[in-house]
C-alpha cells in the first residue's frame, strides 16, 4: 500500500515540477506548482511528518499560491515570447546542466555509504511528527529560531510594502495629492513654503475654509498668475 501511494505521489510531484518548467503561460505554471505541492504533502505524510504536510497544504498551496495567482493576474500572465536570444542551444545546455546535476546529486546522496538509506528508517515513538511534538520542540529547544523566523516574516512584509508602494516617479500629480497628518493639525494659510510661492496649499483639502480665507486664496492665486504672466 505504501509503495503504491509513494509511486502515485512521486510521479505526481515530478509531473507537476515538469509542468512548472515546460508550460508557457505563467498562470498554468502556478497551477502545476499547486498540484506538485499537494503530491509533495502526500509524500510528507508517508514519511510521518503530519504537521509539516498540513502546513504545506494550508500555507503553501493555499496562501502563497493565492499570492502568486494575484500577481500573475495583476502583471498579466502573457505568454513568454520566443525571442532570438534564448535560442535552442541554450535550452539544450540548460537541460544538460540539469541532468548533470541530477546524476551528481544521486551520487552524493545514494552513494554516500549511509547504512540507513536502504532501510525504512528508524523505529519511531508513537507521537512522531504530530503537532504536539513539533510545538513542544519549537517552544523549548528551537525557541530562538522560532522568534527569529517571526522577525524575518515581519521584515519581509514591511519590505514588500515598501517595494510595491506607489511612487511619484511616473506622474507628479500623485505626489501632490498626498498630504500628511500635520496638514490636518495646522490651520489653513499659516504660511508654508508651498503657499508662499503660490503652489497648492495642502491644508485647503483637509479643512473647511472660511469665506475670507477663500477670498485671500483667490487673491493669492491671481497674484501668482500675474507673476507667471
Amino acid at each position: 500500500m505504501a509503495e503504491v501511494l509513494f509511486f502515485l505521489a512521486g510521479i505526481g510531484a515530478i509531473a507537476g515540477a515538469i509542468g512548472v518548467v515546460v508550460l508557457r503561460n505563467p498562470f498554468y505554471s502556478v497551477l502545476a506548482l499547486v498540484s506538485h505541492l499537494l503530491s509533495l504533502a502526500a509524500l510528507f505524510l508517508l514519511l510521518r511528518a503530519e504537521f509539516v504536510a498540513a502546513a504545506q497544504v494550508v500555507v503553501y498551496a493555499g496562501a502563497v499560491m493565492v499570492l502568486y495567482v494575484f500577481v500573475v493576474a495583476y502583471v498579466g500572465g502573457q505568454d513568454e515570447p520566443l525571442g532570438p536570444r534564448a535560442g535552442r542551444g541554450l535550452r539544450v545546455l540548460a537541460a544538460g546542466a540539469g541532468a548533470a546535476l541530477f546524476i551528481e546529486l544521486c551520487i552524493a546522496t545514494l552513494g554516500s555509504g549511509l547504512q540507513a538509506i536502504g532501510t525504512d528508517g528508524a523505529n519511531l515513538e508513537p507521537g512522531f511528527g504530530s503537532p504536539e511534538q513539533i510545538g513542544e520542540l519549537l517552544l523549548t529547544r528551537f525557541l530562538l529560531p522560532f522568534e527569529i523566523a517571526s522577525f524575518l516574516l515581519l521584515i519581509a512584509a514591511v519590505g514588500a510594502v515598501v517595494l510595491a508602494r506607489r511612487r511619484g516617479g511616473i506622474s507628479a500629480a500623485e505626489d501632490q495629492a498626498r498630504y500628511s497628518a500635520m496638514d490636518m493639525l495646522r490651520p489653513a494659510y499659516t504660511g508654508t513654503m508651498a503657499e508662499g510661492v503660490g503652489g497648492p496649499s495642502s491644508g485647503r483639502q483637509a479643512l473647511a475654509v472660511s469665506p475670507r480665507a477663500e477670498a485671500a486664496d483667490a487673491g493669492s492665486d491671481s497674484d501668482s498668475d500675474e507673476d507667471e504672466a
Partner: protein, 99 residues
C-alpha cells in the same frame, strides 16, 4: 519504501527546478522554480528526519518554509514594482547593473 527512493525523487525535483531557473526568462516562473528547489530540499530534510527517527529535521523544514514565504513576498513585490515602472517583465532585459 526505503529512504533512498525519496532522496532520488528529491534530486530529480531539484534538478528540474535548476534547469527551469536556467531556461525560463519570466521572473515569475524563475520564482516558481526556486520554490521547486526549496521543496526538494524540504523533502530531503524530512526523509532524513524519518531515517533518524528524530523530529529536528521537520523543524528545519518548517523554518525553510518560512524563509521561502519571505523570499516569495519580496520577489513578488519586486515584480509588482517592475510592472508599475513599465519595465519589461523579463530577466534578460534587466541588465542595468551589468557594468
Amino acid at each position: 519504501m526505503s529512504i533512498g527512493w525519496y532522496l532520488a525523487v528529491s534530486a530529480l525535483i531539484f534538478s528540474i527546478g535548476a534547469a527551469g531557473v536556467l531556461t525560463r526568462r519570466s521572473p515569475l516562473v524563475v520564482l516558481l522554480c526556486l520554490e521547486l528547489m526549496l521543496n526538494a530540499a524540504n523533502l530531503d530534510l524530512i526523509a532524513f528526519a524519518r531515517m533518524h527517527g528524530n523530529a529536528d529535521g521537520q523543524i528545519f523544514a518548517i523554518i525553510v518554509m518560512v524563509v521561502a514565504a519571505c523570499e516569495v513576498t519580496v520577489g513578488l513585490g519586486l515584480i509588482v514594482a517592475m510592472h508599475r515602472r513599465r519595465l519589461p517583465i523579463d530577466v534578460d532585459e534587466m541588465r542595468e547593473l551589468q557594468g
